[in-house]
C-alpha cells in the first residue's frame, strides 16, 4: 500500500509540540481560496516549474516526448499534453522542474520520520500528518499513524474535518493531537470560501470533542474574507459550544502560496499578495480572546 506524499518536512516547529517531522499528503476535498499549499489539492502528481531557476538550456524540451516544453519566444510549459512522465525533471540540472507527489509506503515514510527520533525525544515532539487532507488517503494515513504509535512517537493529525466520521473514529487510538481547521461558522460562507459546507466538519469536531480527543483549533484568517466581527464571533461560538475547552490558534493569511500556484501552472484563487498586517492580527487576537473561553494564540 502506498500514499501520495508531496513533502516530508523536518524540524517543523509550528505543527504541534516540540520538534516534529510533518508528512504532507497530496489530495484534498476542499478548495480553500487562500490555500498556501495549492500543490496539495490534486491527488495526482504534478510537474512544477520554478522560473527563477531556469537557465534556458533546453534540456527539458529535448527530453519531453510530448513537446510540452518550448524555449522559442520565451519559456513556455504547455501542460495540456503533459503525462507527468518526469523526463524533463530528470533532465533539468538547474532544479527548475520538480515532480510533486511521490508514492511511498507507510514503512518508507516512517523510516524517514524515525531518523529524527532523538530530536523528538529531547523536545517532546513527534510526527504530524498534514497535506492536503490526510484523511483523503485514509488507509495510508491510518497505517502510518498506527506504525508511528508502535514506535512510541507522538502523532498529530492536521485535518480539515471533511471526511467520514467512521474514519476519525478509527484514527482515535492512533492520534495524540488533532490540529483541526475552523474556517467559517456560517455554512454558506464556508461553501463559498472552501467549496464545501461545514456540516460534516462540525459534526466530526463535536465527535472528537465528546470522545476525549486532544484538539487544537486552527483558524486561518484572511483579511476581508472571513475576519469580520460576525465571522470571529461565529468561530468563538463554535469553540465555546464544545464540551471541553480546546485551545485555538490563529493563522494569519500570508501570500507564500501564490507563488506555488504559479509554479504548478495555476492562477491563485486569491490574488492577495500582502501579509496580514500586524494591527489586523492584533485585532483578531483581542476579539477572540474576549469571546473564547479557551486559550487563543498566534501560531
Amino acid at each position: 500500500m502506498t500514499g501520495c506524499v508531496f513533502a516530508i518536512q523536518k524540524f517543523s516547529t509550528r505543527d504541534g509540540p516540540g520538534i516534529r517531522t510533518t508528512v504532507f499528503l497530496k489530495g484534498c476535498p476542499l478548495r480553500c481560496l487562500w490555500c498556501h499549499n495549492p500543490e496539495s489539492q490534486s491527488p495526482e502528481c504534478e510537474i512544477a516549474f520554478l522560473a527563477a531557476r531556469c537557465i534556458g538550456c533546453g534540456a527539458c524540451a529535448a527530453a519531453c516526448p510530448a513537446g510540452c516544453h518550448d524555449l522559442a519566444g520565451g519559456r513556455r510549459f504547455d501542460r495540456s499534453g503533459c503525462t507527468r512522465c518526469g523526463r524533463c525533471v530528470e533532465a533539468c540540472c538547474a532544479g527548475a522542474l520538480e515532480k510533486i507527489g511521490k508514492f511511498l509506503s507507510p514503512e518508507e515514510v516512517l523510516r524517514e520520520v524515525l531518523l529524527d527520533r532523538r530530536f523528538y525525544e529531547r523536545s517532546g515532539g513527534g510526527m504530524t500528518v498534514s497535506g492536503g487532507e490526510p484523511m483523503a488517503q485514509f488507509p495510508f494515513t491510518l497505517a502510518l499513524c498506527k506504525a508511528a504509535k508502535a514506535e512510541h512517537l507522538h502523532v498529530a493529525l492536521d485535518t480539515s474535518g471533511e471526511a467520514p466520521r467512521e474514519q476519525y473514529e478509527a484514527m482515535l487510538p492512533f492520534v495524540d493531537l488533532f490540529l483541526y481547521d475552523l474556517k467559517a461558522a456560517d455554512p454558506v460562507k464556508h461553501r463559498t470560501l472552501t467549496g464545501r459546507d461545514n456540516a460534516r466538519i462540525l459534526e466530526n469536531l463535536r465527535f472528537l470533542d465528546r470522545n476525549g480527543a486532544a484538539v487544537l483549533l486552527r483558524c486561518p484568517l484572511v483579511p476581508g474574507l472571513n475576519d469580520s466581527e460576525d465571522d470571529l464571533a461565529g468561530i468563538a461560538g463554535i469553540a465555546n459550544g464544545l464540551a471541553r475547552p480546546h485551545d485555538l490558534t490563529v493563522h494569519p493569511y500570508h501570500p507564500l502560496g501564490v507563488e506555488k500556484s504559479l509554479r504548478i501552472g495555476r492562477r491563485p484563487a486569491l490574488e492577495m499578495r500582502e501579509f496580514a498586517a500586524p494591527e489586523t492580527v492584533d485585532r483578531w487576537l483581542a476579539f477572540l480572546r474576549s469571546r473564547c473561553r479557551c486559550g487563543v494564540a498566534l501560531n
Binding site: 513533502a7 518536512q9 523536518k10 524540524f11 517543523s12 516547529t13 509550528r14 505543527d15 516540540g18 520538534i19 510533518t22 504532507f24 498556501h36 499549499n37 520554478l50 527563477a52 537557465i55 538550456c57 534540456a59 540540472c93 538547474a94 532544479g95 531518523l115 529524527d116 532523538r118 530530536f119 529531547r122 523536545s123 515532539g125 498534514s130 492536521d158 490540529l179 486552527r218 490558534t249 493563522h251 494569519p252 500570508h254 501570500p255 507564500l256 502560496g257 507563488e259 506555488k260 501579509f275 500586524p278 492580527v281 498566534l298 501560531n299
Partner: protein, 678 residues
Amino acid sequence: MDIKTRFDIQRKRILGRVGMNPRILWRDHRAIRRRAAEEHEDLPWELRVAHMNRALLTALRFQLAPEELMIGRVCPPPPESPEEQAECEAYFKEHPWGFAPGQTGHAAPEMDELLAVGIAGIRRKIESRCSGVFAESCRIALDGFSRMIAAAASAAREAGNPEIAERCERLTEQPPASFRDALQLIWFLCLGIEVGDGAGLIVPGRLDRRLIGFYLNDLASGRITREDARSLLAQYYLLLNDFCENGLAYSVMVGGDTVNELSYLALEALRYSRLTYPSVGICVNRTTPHDLKALALDIIAEGLPNPAFFNDELIRQELCRQEIPAAEAGDYINSACVEITPCGASNVYVASPYFNLCGTLLEAMRGSHAASFAEFRAEFLAALDRKIADGVRRQNQFRELRRSRMRRPLQSIFTRDCLERNRDIEEGGARCNWIECSFVGLANLVDSLYVIEREVFNGGLSMEELTRLCETDFAGHETLLLKFRNRYPKYGMGDPELDATVQPLIDHFCAECAKYRMEPDGSRFLPGAFCWIMHQRLGAETCATPDGRRAGFPFADGAGPAQGREEFGPTTAVRSVCSWNHSSLLGGSAFNMKFGKTLLSTPEAREKLLALIDVFLEGGGFETQINVADNETLKKAQKHPEEYADLIVRIGGYTDYFVKLSPGMQQELLLRTEYSGF
C-alpha cells in the same frame, strides 16, 4: 547616575570612535620601544626586550570618566611622525629583537595566584624560583606592570575618584581584597600583557571560576549585590570594546564543571554592555542547569553577542588524552573562537596554519594520472601531507625566530610553568606548547571527492576536463556546474554513504598531525576545523570546485555543511555533522546554524532550539553557535541570497524552501520580523 545612563554614555562614546583603537596604536607604536632598546644597548637582548616592555607599560596613561565603574580606558600613545616611524623601522631592522612572526597571545593568563598573593607575592615568587637573565627580565616587566597600575591610581585621583585611586594604589603591591579589586586587577593583567608584551588576544577566560570566592565573600559581607557584580562585569566588557578594534574575538567562558552565580551574571552582563566583545561561551555537559542554557538562548534571541555552546565532556576528555591532568582539564578557554587551550598554562599557537583543503585538491587534480579513485584519493592526501609538513616546518621556524629574538616576560610570569622552569614563554617555559592548525573547506572537499569518484572514475569525464572546468569557473558549461551542485548528495543532507567518507579523512588528518613533534620540546601538532573568516578569504582566492561551488565563493564554515546544503533543515545537518568523531579536533570544530528571528521569538520556540543544540552536543558535536539573521545582516544578505539558503521558513501547515521563493519574496521575508511565521 543610574546604570543605564552610565552605559549609554560609554556605548555612545565607543560607537562614535573616530580613528584607531588603542590596541592597534600601542601595538604599532615604535618610538617608545626604540628608545628603551637604545638606552639599554649594553644589556643582553632579552633584558632590552624586557625594558621595551616596561617602557610601554610605564608610558600608558589612563582616563576615567564619572560614568565608569572601573578604570581601564587607555590614552593613545604619543603620535609618531613618518620620519620617526621610518627611523624606527631602520633601527629594528638592524636590531631585530623584540619582534618575530607567528601567532601570539590567544590565551587566558594565569590569574589565581596573582589574585591570591598580589604583585608583591609574585615578586617574591620570582625571587625565590628564578635566576639569571630570566629573573631580571621578570623583575623589569613586573616593575613596569606595577607602575602602570600606579599611573592608573594617579589618573583616578585626578579624576576625583578616591575609591578607585585607593584601590589601584593597593593593587600595585597587595592582593585584591574584594570583587571590585579582583576584576580591576584582571583588567590590568590582560591589558598589561597585551600592550607590554605585544601579545594579541589575551582574554579574561573563565571569570566565574576566578571570581566566585571574591563574589561570595562580598555578598556575605554586604559589600556587593548581585546587580553590582553584573554591572561591574558589563563595565569590564565595555572597556574591552573601547580597547579593541572590530573583527577579533575575546572570550569569556562559563559553566562546564563549575556553574555558579557568576556563570549567569557573565551572560546577563551582555544585556548591559550590548557591544561586540566579549563572546561568552557556555560549556555544556550532562549536569549543566537548564536555566543557564535557556539564558544563553534568551541572550541570542535578544540579538546580543552570541553565546556559543561547547561540548564540555568531549573537550575535557580530549584534554586529558593530551596529558592535561584531569583536575585541570575543566579549566580551558576558547582562544578565541573555537580553538581550545588550557587557562593559565598556554603558549599554544592556534590557527597555525590554516590549510586550504580544496586548494590542495585542485593541485592534486592538476597533476593526476590516477587510474582509480583510490589512487587519486591517495595522491590528494599525499599532497596534503606535504602541505602539513611545510606548515610544521614553518611553525618550527617561527618558534626558532621567537626563541632567538623574542621574549614576553610579563606573559611568562603569568603562564605556568615559566617561573617554575625559569624560562620565558618563548623559550618553551609554558606547560602547554601545542601548535593547532585548522583545515578549511571540509564540506567542499568531501562533496568534491564524491563528485570526482563518480564523474571521473565511474563516468565519462576526464580529470583534465574536470580540472579545466573548475579553472574556468565552468564557463560555457553551466549545466554541468548545476549538475554537480544539485544532482549529487551533499554533506549536510544526511546521506549515509557520503557522510561515511568524512571519518576516514578526519582520521587521516589526525594521524598525519600526530606524526609531528614540534622542536625543540616535542610538543604536539593538533588539527582543527574552524575558519574564523578564512572560509571567505581562502574561498575568494580559489577557483571553482567539483562540488559545484563557483570560483571565489566562500568555503563551508567550520565543520558544517556548505552554504545552500541545509535544505533538509537543521536536524538533518546535525545528523551529518554528528556522523563523525570530532573529539580529536582541539584546534576547534565549529558548526554554525542560522535562524530567522521568529524562530527565537517565544520561550517555547527557544526550547525547541535548545533541544536541537542538546541533541547536537549529545551526538558528539564539538561546538555550535546560533546566528540570528537580524535586520542588519539581512539587508546585506539581500545581495547574496544564496548565502542564506539555509534559512528555513516555518509556518503551520505550510511547506516550502526559502531558496525556492522568488528573489522578491525572499527579500520580503528576510526583512520580516513579525509573526509571519518566518
